[in-house]
Subunit: 714 residues, 2 copies
């Protein structure tokens, strides 16, 4: 793993000239403000961007009232940023002109490149090469451009930017899709979310999604990085960017499409990029503490909550204060789904709450009932008791429609401000239907305000997620060292004994077993291993032994062993007359344990990926598996185990003892290190089953398959 | 099952006088329009209710400018409806006065009844008795009242009704919670949803949730019944109401809280009613085609979509038309979750779409790209090809922010109207950010319009759900007859042989087995049944046989059988010296099959309830079970099986043959009939495992437990 340290991210020039230029040149500037070449200039003029604007158009001395220039060379001063809107065939020449004259960043709005193929693909390759050669950063082509709200820089032609209408804030957004980015911009305006940077990356000839994440990660104004992702192009860049964001405490929320087959196909046809398996993305997001939103509402709900200056929750203890018992119950239902705990108020505090409102629900949710309308001070007094005596990390308060009356809202807000001041370490969210003015007042006071209670709870869950991810990040999770004696992967398919020998050398405990070529050898080996033993037919041509009755378990003595040996040979000959028989494997009979599956697969984007699941139907019926890109440490392995619902079996159900989860996590980390080291030589590894013994007794790989990867395979 | 026929619902007087009175008397009318007794009068005066209003207040000749009367007897004309806002101790007398003077419906807003206990509970019981005796229907006490939008009748004191602001439409809403009902009213106004009736039922002394559903079901103006439910009080009333709603083609969407433990506790403390198990409610909703919403947004999204006059989808084939490939992919992801299919466009039609926009995504989603902005006719032309050649049952079209520009929206709406006219059998939903005016224009044209694409897809899924439920309802699903020879349930706990004999008599296939008191009898019975056999210890004191090694399977001959018999007796004596041993059960060794669990439990609300799940970890780890109230027919049983994710095992995984799902469904229906017939005598039945053999070979109950219910048990 090279270049994964978070300090090495700046190996390419920064995106600063793109977002923070002294002056902007517009290549292909048009006098018609509705055209792609005219709209950015129109927007920039009207928005009040504070630097010089240089239209470039050899055919006209003046564009939209500004002096125009025939080329970059003719400009009266330096332009750090060029917006390029000339037809596709002229783009490369324009960019060469830019690079030759001090332009440090270019945004190519023009379409007609890799997305259409042919000459377009060639031009795009030339753009990539030019960017690499010159150091000038290029956004696009085929993109919607970028925005820097604080400088009122509208370097885009999306109609959603017309009229500006943006509020400066701490959210920076990157979208791979231009259309999606434009839609987001409309939503940001509609919701009046505080925005810092906005960018769409289009065909990503140079600047990609990961570059933008990395740039935002180092930006002081940015607290939230919101990303729309279709497919990552470079694993290392993405990992570096996400690691940097986590190290800087940025809250990353992504909308990644392609969970369904139809969705994945739509993405593939849309971006023509090789999308990695969606389940692997899920693992990557977990690995870096990224929150994956499932809808556009959720994407922005979480961006909004995470952009608040309020502290992240220290834990997941949620208190709910409500004026409606019914809504309180609904919030409790959703809180459970969101992974939040709702411990009850202490008994004594419940009595105190009852002195405020005799018929309140004092447990948690705390239902102060419609009495609030008669006595607004109940809000602050209930709140104070909950915070002081309930010990909640965060509180969500539902106040129905009070926010539609400004006078009442202001009184509540004053109480809330005092509460926030007394309890600066708690996270507080208010929910009520409110007028836009009341929304603004709350936001200005740093008080989060939602309209819909279940959405507020889900956002609260996301804040807890961020708090916990940043906590986890502080732990060490270094991959373990690869054992010095680790064998290289086989160059062709090998039998399970050799596969297990390789895995054993890599630090994965395997069952004791040996190949016996004949009956006598089997008897001798069984004596050495100790009865009872298991016998398995050994043949490179028989992959699924149990289907031909090729496994006999629980052989208790030598007589039964000899009988078993001959039975296996006979069965194999009958079932697969042409199979090469190497003999029979004599194996230690492993004690009772939980069967799991541990494997390595190749992902087109993320390379060697480790998969873990409970055995059998868990994987096949419930798809109950967790993925992570290799390598990783024991903490990540533990998180993978915790993600599966089948973990209940490992924790011990039906009076079974808990299994050795720690040994399992160590085996997973060891496998991940081996898989990463030999990523180019391994197509897949399948340890099935990996038996997890009771706590303290370790794990045992009972069967294994290693499929090598042919040299030079793409 | 008595009174379940949908024609028998009207056994109690209708709610019509409540919602459609000629005149309204207000008991306890106050001159202060901010008080509970003053607000309804204030609202009714301002809203323009079209009938006479009679304030009743013995202390004043005039209230809020209207002549006031000392009592009902003094009124100048008949009042069908009385709104009662006098203090709790005076309510019963007021209601008696009403009932004695021709009032046919009363709404009691006053609080201080069962929710506070003591005298309040006594008064409430008196109200219930009075309602039953007089035939006058009573809403409340402790409720927020009711609304009839078309008559501008605001019989409520919720501040959410101030200023009216309601649009007549086809949604009727019933809420058990007043606070929740008030919040809903604010949302209905904010969203400008078309409302017909609104009612909160409070303490439900007489009119309950089910009564309102039944009344709405027979109301011609109502297309959607939206209900907020905490706990049902009377199973038969609820079932009758839901059956009636389905028979009348009403679309029922409910928000039922209490899924989580904290939520259920909050509900319990809130309504002090015995809530049934949430999983059973889930089954009841499935049974009657009710859509259960998971959030308030979803509740109203679905109410909105279902209130449209558009046809319900004939099937679940969804086409997505989009201007953003990314949003299209997101919609496809959510469509899969919502159970919708997204078949691709036919190849030839894809070519035709490409002639419209060369770089479009023609598959499905159909991505017409941002080209739409340049040529608005692309909308109608793409749409027409999708409808004519894609064969989709419904289409959701995403148009980004176009709805923010009225001129463009009107052009699209005109195209849409033409499409709707040419394809009146298809369901069409448009999604775009839109101004309130554009929303209104679309709604007036009967064109569904959503803001957020994933919410539109979920609403589409709900419409498909309704279409399929109404289709199912037309099928016969009569419970099978109870066999004439069915034995009564045992009066005390019995051994598994007797339990299985009872179940066999009820039509559930059981394994062949007999109790052997001694070794000789065991040998004789095994010979009759045929080897191999299974031996199980028989003792009323040993519930979990396998834990003491009390089961031996696969005994192949008489010698092994005799050895096994003695081994079991020895093990039982050692493990449970004081247990009464009845002998050993000799049983047929059942062939390979899928182990399932079938049971009956008592639910406090729904009585005898049948539970089904796959065996073992499926139930314990994944809670993968389906419930239905007994009795039901084979179609419902099939639906239960289809609901479990473990059904994949029954359909055949890993090359296993498909199991006999039909025989399973028949056994489930038979058990449900038996359980319903003997509901008062059965605490629980547990058939575990019920082995489902390969298709055509039936099912076999291998073990069973019947726990009788003591006579007179509450």
């Amino acid at each position: 793993m090279k270049n994964t340290s978070v300090t090495e991210h700046s190996f390419r020039p920064s995106l600063a000239p793109l977002f923070d230029p002294r002056a902007i040149a517009i290549y292909g500037a048009s006098s018609d403000p509705t055209k792609i070449g005219g709209r950015p200039l129109d927007f920039l003029k009207k928005s009040g961007f504070d630097g010089p604007l240089y239209p470039i158009n050899p055919k006209s001395p003046e564009i939209q009232g500004l002096p125009a220039y025939p080329s970059i060379a003719a400009l009266p001063g330096p332009a750090d940023l060029a917006i390029v809107a000339v037809p596709a065939p002229a783009v490369v020449a324009a960019l060469e002109d830019c690079a030759a004259h001090g332009v440090r960043g270019a945004v190519v709005l023009s379409a007609g490149f890799a997305e259409v193929g042919g000459a377009g693909a060639v031009w795009q390759a030339e753009i990539s090469a030019l960017a690499a050669r010159s150091g000038m950063r290029v956004v696009g082509p085929n993109c919607m451009g970028l925005i820097n709200v604080r400088r009122r820089l509208l370097g885009t032609f999306t109609p959603s930017a017309a009229g500006f209408g943006l509020v400066p804030g701490s959210i920076s957004l990157v979208s791979q899709s231009g259309a999606f980015g434009g839609y987001c911009l409309s939503l940001i305006r509609q919701r009046q979310l505080g925005l810092n940077y906005w960018i769409t990356t289009g065909n990503q000839s140079d600047v990609d999604f990961a570059d933008c994440v990395a740039f935002f990660a180092e930006d002081e104004e940015t607290r939230v990085i919101a990303g729309y992702l279709e497919a990552a192009t470079d694993k290392d860049r993405l990992f570096r960017a996400l690691a940097l964001a986590r190290a800087r405490g940025k809250r990353v929320v992504v909308l990644k499409v392609g969970r369904s087959e139809a969705g994945a196909q739509a993405t593939a046809s849309h971006t023509a990029s090789l999308a990695g398996s969606d389940a692997v993305y899920e693992g990557v997001f977990q690995q870096f503490g990224v929150f994956r939103a499932r809808s556009i509402d959720e994407f922005f709900d979480i961006a909004y909550a995470a952009s608040s200056s309020a502290p992240l929750p220290r834990g997941k203890r949620l208190g709910v204060l409500t004026v409606s018992g019914g809504v309180g119950a609904l919030m409790a239902d959703v809180a459970e789904e969101a992974g939040l705990d709702m411990p009850p108020m202490p008994e004594e505090a419940q009595q105190r709450l009852k002195t405020l409102v005799p018929f309140c629900g004092p447990r948690n949710p705390v239902d102060m009932t419609a009495q609030l309308v008669n006595d607004l001070t109940l809000f602050g007094r209930n709140f104070e008791i909950m915070l002081a005596e309930g010990g909640y990390d965060l509180i969500v308060a539902f106040l129905s429609s009070v926010g539609q009356v400004k006078d009442l809202s202001v009184i509540l807000l004053d109480q809330l401000k005092a509460i926030l001041q007394r309890h600066p370490d708690r996270t507080i969210i208010t929910v009520m239907l409110a007028t836009p003015e009341v929304h603004r007042l709350f936001n200005e006071a740093g008080a989060m305000l939602f309209d819909e209670p279940t959405r507020a709870i889900r956002a609260a869950g996301a804040l807890v997620h961020f708090g916990q991810s940043f906590g986890l990040a502080e732990q060490e999770d270094a991959p373990p060292p690869l054992p010095a004696a680790a064998l290289p992967p086989p160059r062709q398919e090998v039998n399970e004994i050799e596969a297990k020998a390789v895995l054993a050398s890599a630090g994965i405990p395997v069952v004791r077993e040996h190949l016996a070529a004949d009956e006598e050898a089997a008897a001798r080996l069984a004596g050495e291993i100790g009865y009872p033993v298991v016998l398995k037919i050994a043949s490179p041509d028989i992959a699924h032994k149990s289907e031909i009755g090729g496994v006999i378990v629980g052989l208790r003595d030598e007589a039964r062993l000899r009988e078993g040996f001959n039975a296996l040979i006979t069965r194999a000959r009958q079932a697969a007359p042409r199979a090469r028989l190497e003999g029979v494997v004599v194996a230690q009979m492993a004690g009772p344990g939980v069967e799991t599956i541990l494997g390595v697969v190749r992902d087109p984007v993320f390379g060697a990926v480790v998969m873990f699941g409970l055995g059998g139907i868990f994987v096949e019926v419930f798809k109950d598996v967790a993925f992570r890109a290799a390598p990783f440490g024991v903490a990540t392995a533990r998180a993978m185990i915790a993600e599966t619902r089948g973990r209940a079996l490992l924790e011990g159900v039906r009076g079974q003892p808990p299994a050795d989860i720690e040994a399992l996590a160590q085996a997973m980390a060891a496998l991940s290190v081996y898989a990463a080291r030999h990523a180019d030589a391994i197509e897949s590894i399948d340890i099935n089953p990996l038996l997890v013994l009771p706590r303290g007794q370790g794990v045992l790989a009972l069967d294994a398959l290693i499929v090598p990867r042919a040299a030079g395979q793409a």
